[in-house]
């Protein structure tokens, strides 16, 4: 009988008990509480920003308010061809990223599967990935020129070498027993690669793509340093020259939002393609 009775604690005591419960190490959080915290995490900086810009503590020129930024987005859209900037930047990022993925996935697969390929390519890739992509800009300009190719090349250099190593690592994480089981069932080398290794690594590979996509966006601004005359990164850099801090804010936030949308797209693809990971 006592197990059904709820402790009749006063509300503030219940609240403090709940407060303690959510701080259990690696504890559980209900969906509602999670959303509440997530919302707070988004709204707190926004209100702080709003308050700071409106307080007069900082000059409007250096700290535009949220409304200033919003109205800048509107005029950018109406008069300055915002959609074209978004389109061209997205195009550069996606092109550089896709090219990188197209080469990195087969190469990483080979490195992670065959030891001689690993010995041949991994130390080299490790070495190159520590070279700063930005430092390649002068070379890229000389070799590729100053048109679209050079921007795509910078994004490619920034993501490719990391991606190869991450793909190789994903492939190496395929449990050896999965491979050996296929061997004892008479699988050929080709079958092991296509029916076991690739299938087993797929979810990790999609996660690698999602993460490197984020890096591709961070290289966008750098890429648009190179004699660009359009794009979000270029607009941010140009706005600095004209002291348009509201446009800098707008550009940064837009890149963040596009990145977030693409990230969500990848997560959706993950759930859609790998249902076995989500069924419990």
């Amino acid at each position: 009988m006592s197990s059904k009775q709820k402790p009749n604690l006063p509300f503030h005591r219940q609240l403090s008990a709940g407060w303690r419960n959510i701080w259990v190490v690696r504890g559980h959080l209900s969906r509602r509480t999670y959303l509440l915290f997530a919302l707070a995490g988004m709204l707190l900086p926004l209100t702080a920003w709003w308050w700071l810009s409106g307080s007069g503590l900082m000059d409007k020129v250096f700290m535009p308010g949220p409304m200033d930024v919003l109205s800048r987005v509107y005029t950018w859209f109406k008069d300055d061809n915002l959609l074209h900037d978004i389109w061209i930047s997205t195009y550069r990022v996606v092109a550089g990223f896709a090219l990188s993925a197209l080469l990195a996935i087969p190469l990483g697969l080979m490195i992670g599967t065959y030891r001689p390929v690993q010995a041949l390519l991994e130390p080299l890739t490790d070495f190159i990935r520590y070279m700063p992509a930005v430092a390649f800009i002068p070379l890229v300009m000389l070799w590729v020129g100053i048109d679209e190719g050079s921007k795509i090349a910078i994004i490619f250099i920034g993501t490719f070498f990391q991606m190869v190593l991450m793909v190789a690592e994903d492939v190496r994480r395929v449990p050896i027993t999965q491979i050996e089981a296929a061997q004892t069932m008479g699988a050929t080398r080709g079958e092991i690669v296509s029916l076991v290794i690739v299938q087993s690594a797929k979810p990790a590979l999609l996660d690698t793509l999602r993460i490197t996509m984020g890096w591709a966006w961070t290289y966008l601004v750098v890429a648009e340093l190179v004699a660009a005359n359009s794009g979000l990164g270029y607009s941010i850099l140009k706005a600095q020259r004209f002291m348009q801090t509201d446009k800098i804010f707008a550009g940064i936030i837009l890149i963040g939002l596009i990145g977030l949308a693409i990230d969500q797209l990848f997560r959706w693809l993950h759930r859609k393609n790998f249902p076995w990971l989500y069924k419990k």
Partner: protein, 283 residues
């Protein structure tokens, strides 16, 4: 009894030079057709290595392993293997996991519709035998450890292998599930007429399942002694408490301890206890 597997002066060395480890030295053993042989031994005795050599996943550095009189080279569909864990394909349903070996053959050979039908029938029969029919469309990570191992065994049995190699297949399962799996695998061995080579660290399991228990010794890995099990063919969980069973268990456990060179040093233990007591007295 016909000899199914003959192991002749098998030797296996890992690495070379001073750092080399002799995993197997001069192993000689014949395993009969439809025999159930279990291997036990202290860690490092080479029991798993020997099993992997029979499976063709490792190659011997000396000697030979023959199946039906013919030397083996690499893995083959005549020798199926069941691992301790992580060997199922999580992206395939239970049924597709079981039919995986068909997928391989289908890519290589022209199958007639009769073949496909026969394979489906076989898969259904195995689902039934293993008690998996109700989870045929589930994914492996939705199943308990015991159910996952049932899938792994069914998958190994699909192409009707003559030999089933099992590497501590129930090592990760709880005691109750293990008992159920023991009777199931004995049933399989009788029904499928499969020769089973079974590696375990659990002596009780080794006696209960095996017709012979092979004790291996470490450094270098070798066959130490062989214990024929004197139990009725039709096993029964109560036999584990019979006098004969317990006596054999004790004999094997003692032998394993001796080969491992591990003995409890009672003198040292006593000395340490006395020291601790003296310290307590002083305080």
């Amino acid at each position: 009894m016909d000899t199914k597997i003959s192991i002749e002066a098998a030797g296996k060395t890992f690495g070379d030079g001073e750092r080399s480890i002799v995993a197997l030295q001069e192993v000689n053993l014949n395993i009969g057709s439809n025999e159930f042989v279990t291997f036990v031994g202290a860690s490092g005795c080479g029991k798993s290595t020997l099993l992997r050599c029979i499976g063709g996943l490792e190659t011997l550095t000396s000697g030979k392993i023959k199946v039906d009189g013919a030397g083996i080279s690499g893995p083959g569909v005549d020798r199926a293997m069941v691992f301790q864990h992580y060997s199922l394909y999580p992206w395939l349903t239970v049924l597709d996991n079981i039919k995986f070996s068909r997928l391989l053959r289908a890519g290589r050979e022209e199958l007639t519709s009769a073949d496909v039908e026969a394979a489906s029938g076989r898969a259904d029969a195995l689902l039934d035998l293993m008690g998996l029919t109700h989870v045929r469309d589930a994914y492996p990570n939705q199943l308990s450890g015991g159910m996952q191992q049932r899938v792994a065994i069914a998958r190994a049995l699909l192409p009707r292998p003559q030999i089933l190699l099992m590497d501590e297949p129930f090592g990760a399962l709880d005691a109750q599930t293990r008992e159920v799996m023991h009777d199931l695998i004995l049933h399989v061995s009788k029904l499928e007429k499969t020769t089973i080579v079974f590696v375990t660290h659990d002596v009780e399991e080794a006696i209960y399942l095996g017709q012979r228990v092979v004790v291996m010794a470490p450094r270098p890995g070798r066959v130490d002694s062989i214990y024929p099990v004197d139990l009725p063919m039709q096993r029964d969980q109560d036999m584990k408490l019979s006098h004969g069973f317990l006596q054999q268990k004790k004999a094997i456990l003692t032998r394993i301890r001796e080969t491992a060179g591990m003995r409890t040093d009672y003198e040292l233990l006593e000395r340490m206890t006395r020291q601790a007591e003296q310290q307590n007295d002083m305080q």
